[in-house]
Amino acid sequence: MPAINVNPTRQELTRLKARLKTSVRGHKLLKDKRDELMKQFMDVVRENRALRKKVEEGLMRAHGAFTVASAVMSSEMLEQALLYPKQSVELDMTFQNVMSVNVPVYRFKTRSDAAGEVYPYGFATTSGELDDAVDALSSVFQDMLRLAEIEKTSQLLAEEIEKTRRRVNALEYVKIPQMEEAIQYITMKLDENERSATIRLMKVKDMLLAQAIEEKRQADARAIEAFGGGLGESSGQI
C-alpha cells in the first residue's frame, strides 16, 4: 500500500505520471540552483571573513587611537570637537540579482569629497592624537561599508540556500519516491484488474461451453431415446 491514498484508475495514473515528470524536472532545476548559489556563497563568505578580520583590526587601531586621544584631552573637549560633524554620509542602495536573490549594493555619498575635510574641528584646541584617531577611523570606513554589503549578502544567500536545499531534499527523498510508489501501486492494481477480467471471461466461456455441451448431450439423449425407443418397439414386434 502506498503511503498516500490514491484511486487506482487510469486517469489518476496519467495525472501522477505528469506530476512525476514535473517534479523530476523541478528537482533538477532546484539542484542546479543550489549548486550555483553555493558556489557564489563560498566566494562571498571567503571575502566576508577576510574583510571582517581587516575591519576588526582597523577598528581596534582606531579605538586605541581614541583612547590615547581621550587620555590627552578632557572628555568634554573630545566630545565638543566631534559633536558637530562636517561630513555627512548618505547611502544609495541598489539591488543586484544573484540567482533570484536580491542582494544590496551600497554606494555612499559624502557631502564633501576632499580628504582633509574629515576633521570636524579646528586644530587649535585639539590634540594631534585625535587627528590620528579620526584618520584611522576614516581609512577603515570604506572597508566597513563593503563589509556591510557583503555580510548582508552572505546572510541572504545563506537563507536562500537553506530554503532551496530543503526543497531539493523534500523532492528527492519524499515527494518523488512517494509518487513513484503510487504509480507502481496503480500499475499493479490495473494489471491485476486486467488479469482478473481475462480470467473471468475464460471462466464464463468455460461455463457457457459446459452448458452448451450439456444441452447438446441431453438433446442427443432425447433423440436416442426417441429413436432407440421406436427401435426397441419395432424389434419387439419383429
Binding site: 563568505v45 560633524p85 547611502l91 542602495m93 574629515v118 576633521y119
Partner: protein, 104 residues
C-alpha cells in the same frame, strides 16, 4: 534608487568617533536602551546599522529578526574593549546554515 542613512549604535566611547565620519550616532547606556533604539532605527530609513558586539551579545533575538530582511543590515563591530568574536561567529553560523556544516 533611494537614499538611506547609516547608524552607529553602541556604548558612548565606542561609537563617538563615527560622528566625525558623518554617521548618525546613537549612544546607548544599557542593552535595553540599545534594543529600543534598534527597533526604532529599523523602522526608519536606515540601511546599515553598526552595532557594537558588547550589546549584540545581549540582543541576539532582535538581530536574528532582521537577518532575513533586506534592510537594515546589522553589522557587528568590536567595541572599545576589543573583539569578542561574535561577528566572526556569525559568519561561521551563516556557513553552517547554508551548507549544514562548517567547512571553512
Amino acid at each position: 534608487m533611494s537614499s538611506y542613512r547609516i547608524a552607529a549604535l553602541g556604548d558612548r566611547d565606542s561609537v563617538l568617533g563615527f560622528k566625525a565620519l558623518g554617521l548618525d550616532v546613537f549612544p546607548a547606556e544599557t542593552a535595553e536602551e540599545a534594543r529600543r533604539t534598534l527597533h526604532a532605527l529599523a523602522k526608519e530609513n536606515y540601511a546599515v546599522i553598526y552595532l557594537t558586539e558588547g550589546y549584540a551579545a545581549e540582543m541576539e533575538g532582535e538581530i536574528a529578526r532582521y537577518k532575513d530582511d533586506l534592510t537594515p543590515a546589522i553589522i557587528l563591530i568590536p567595541g572599545k574593549d576589543g573583539s569578542l568574536g561574535i561577528g566572526m561567529a556569525n559568519v561561521k553560523r551563516a556557513v553552517e546554515r547554508a551548507v549544514g556544516a562548517d567547512i571553512l
